[in-house]
Subunit: 151 residues, 2 copies
DNA sequence: CGAATTTATATCGCGCACGATATAAATAAG
DNA sequence: CTTATTTATATCGTGCGCGATATAAATTCG
């Protein structure tokens, strides 16, 4: 192996690590969220759905899927679990019966207050300041959107 | 709500988005890897194990778990699937029968060549240059390790 | 209008990922 | 040496997450 190949290999290795760092950062993040969310009986993906609904109530499965970048095959069972715990209601749109409108119940709305301190706990755990967080966030969004626009 | 609270809410919202950006970036990354890995019949977590073994053959389940930050409850079934496809061999350490040593088969070694071009494909898809990748990688590793050192 | 196509959600199968627990080997303690 | 504890892996149950497919409503096209 010549120097050229070796340098190329190094580059590829570093790039490889980026994907692994994101992959393992997701798991780490989940570990921090888990005990906080356990108190209010939510998983992280369920929490994301609730955050989406707290921001804007009465969204269709499709809208939630577009926002969270998840398929109906992921959302439908998740939403059913949230419905079982009576945090959300699922009902067909009377105007377009193909759509299912997901809305908050009183129980779902009351969860918001209980979840209020979670973001600050996560920020503390990250040990990053706001500027770092904003910059990192922007870069990751850019990376993500680059990856998503392959086709 | 006063200005103070509003500013605080904004901060928390941005921080919230960081976690979501990492979460969705992981999914985006998986989408790019999937067609590339499909050609050689691996999933992304399986690919990570193979990369680990290509770097250093004959590692225990525990060593792989430490490296990839995964539990035995995740690795054992995954390694069994890799064994079924005859990419790896699993055998108890004769010196310490609690340990299971995972080693590459000829088939597993031959996969490395077939996987050679994957890292460059991912780098291209990211549309990032090496310097960006290195910096982003370092930040994410720092974030991840901060999150992992809560206890 | 009526058939073909598109759109929105749901179902199914498979592979993670982890917490809780089990099992068995190795080590420590008495 | 025997018992207790620790260590390493495996098993089980639950919840994602997605591709492939199904179903039914809405829209388009002839």
């Amino acid at each position: 192996m010549n120097a050229m190949n070796k340098a190329a290999k190094e580059k590829l290795k570093i790039e490889n690590l980026l994907c692994f760092s994101i992959y393992s950062a997701t798991h780490a993040m989940n570990q921090v969220y888990k005990p906080l969310l356990k108190k209010i009986g939510l998983t992280y993906p369920q929490y994301l759905v609730m955050v989406a609904l707290w921001n804007e109530d009465e969204q269709t499965v499709g809208q939630l899927g577009d926002l969270l970048i998840l398929e109906s095959s992921t959302l439908t069972p998740l939403l059913k679990r949230l419905e079982t715990r009576s945090h959300v209601k699922r009902q067909r749109d009377p105007i377009d019966e193909r759509k299912v409108i997901v809305s908050l119940t009183q129980s779902g709305r009351s969860l918001q207050t209980k979840a209020d301190d979670i973001p600050s706990c996560i920020l503390n755990a990250s040990k990053f300041n706001i500027d770092q967080v904003i910059k990192l966030h922007e870069q990751i969004i850019e990376l993500r959107d680059n990856l998503l626009t392959i086709g």
